[in-house]
């Protein structure tokens, strides 16, 4: 993966490393599930993960060539930061990532409950074998 990165750019973005891991992980999962063509991949990306969506999509397109993900749709679910506010005794969602304080009462909080995600959520697989069978059926 690192050699791929070096070949692509002189100075690469870390999204390329992340996209490579996604392709690797999905490949493992698809093998374990008995193969198939990947129709879609869903990722969960937290607002604090420092991942730029466009850079990730660009990188994904670079690294998926010749893999079972070649035609897969990349779905990215972005997750806002959620902190625990001790004063309000509840989880609160932050409107941005520049101020880690409760938007309601202003109490600062470093207790982050969501927003760091960098997760592979799900894979949508289409089985190829039955499709071939169906095609054969039509031919007969």
């Amino acid at each position: 993966m690192k050699s791929v990165c070096r070949r692509v750019w002189g100075f690469i973005v870390h999204e390329l490393s992340i996209a490579s891991r996604v392709v690797e992980l999905v490949g493992e999962q698809v093998c374990a599930a008995g193969g198939g063509r990947v129709a879609a991949v869903t990722l969960k990306i937290g607002a604090l993960s420092c991942v730029h969506e466009d850079a990730l999509r660009f990188s994904f397109n670079l690294v998926r060539e010749g893999t079972p993900l070649a035609d897969a749709e990349l779905r990215i679910v972005t997750v806002p930061v959620v902190i625990w506010c001790a004063a309000c005794s509840r989880e609160v969602r932050l409107p941005g990532i520049q101020k880690f304080a409760c938007p309601e009462c202003g109490t600062p909080s470093g207790d982050i409950r969501a927003g760091r995600e960098l997760d592979l959520e799900s894979i949508e697989l289409v089985d190829e074998a039955p499709a071939v069978e169906a095609a054969k059926g039509r031919m007969i």
């Binding site: 990165c5 993960s49 697989l125 289409v126 169906a134």
Partner: protein, 233 residues
């Protein structure tokens, strides 16, 4: 019409790195070595700060070592080696951050238990190193007075993952019209409660406090985090 199968995976994309980093952290803690991952933008003065830190520790008879990541050249390793501490260079050849396996590979042959402190100087970058755990116990984010007080607001992701921050080149504060209160407020906004050192590698201001902090963190490592049976005799 073939129904697609949905595989609910729910796994971390950087799982392999995270697992290796966790193993490495356990190894470091068992060996009694405090590992510090230093992150900042290029030119903040990480190398100068680390060189002074290593020199002081060496002078005090506290065994320490460092690995330093750069895109190219081993200039930093040579600079750091002047401290007298063992230093290894990781050349990433374009990769914008260090990953746990790169660090692990460069530790081969070192007896970790012989060190009290191990410093990892990351590639100068305020974005990319954020998500890569290197097995450290302390992540230090540096910000120099020449960079502007709003750096933490521009790069909240990285500052938010730090355990401690240092404002470097504090001797230049006046010349740069550095607004100290604003910088501290910005760090506090993105990482409430984080301890901040104000340091100069030239005048050595703040170095003693930083070394005292390291010693305190190392004591905590030995006392709290290490299971008794795992501690070296």
């Amino acid at each position: 019409m073939i129904e697609p199968r949905i595989l609910e995976v729910r796994t971390k994309i950087l799982k392999k790195n995270d697992e290796l980093a966790r193993e490495m952290r356990e190894r470091f803690v068992r060996a009694g070595v405090l590992v510090v991952n230093m992150v900042s933008s290029p030119g903040t003065g990480k190398t100068a700060f680390l060189k002074e830190t290593l020199s002081r520790l060496v002078a005090r008879g506290e065994p320490c070592a460092a690995v330093v990541g750069d895109l190219e050249t081993d200039n930093d390793a040579r600079r750091l080696a002047e401290s007298g501490a063992p230093v290894r260079q990781i050349m990433t050849h374009g990769l914008c951050h260090l990953e746990a396996d790169m660090v692990e590979k460069h530790l081969e042959g070192w007896n970790l238990a012989a060190f009290r402190y191990l410093f990892i100087e990351n590639v100068g970058n305020l974005v990319c190193p954020t998500s890569w755990d290197l097995g450290e116990s302390v992540r230090l984010a540096l910000l120099s007075v020449t960079e502007g007080e709003d750096k933490p607001l521009k790069y909240p992701g990285l500052f938010n993952t730090a355990d401690v921050a240092a404002i470097s080149k504090i001797d230049l504060a006046e010349a740069c019209d550095f607004d100290r209160a604003k910088a501290l407020a910005n760090i506090e906004a993105v990482r409430p409660g984080m301890r901040v050192f104000e340091a100069s590698s030239k005048t050595l201001a703040g170095l003693d406090e930083w070394l005292a902090y390291l010693a305190e963190r190392r004591r905590a490592l030995a006392g709290d985090a290490v299971p008794a049976r795992g501690r070296p005799p």
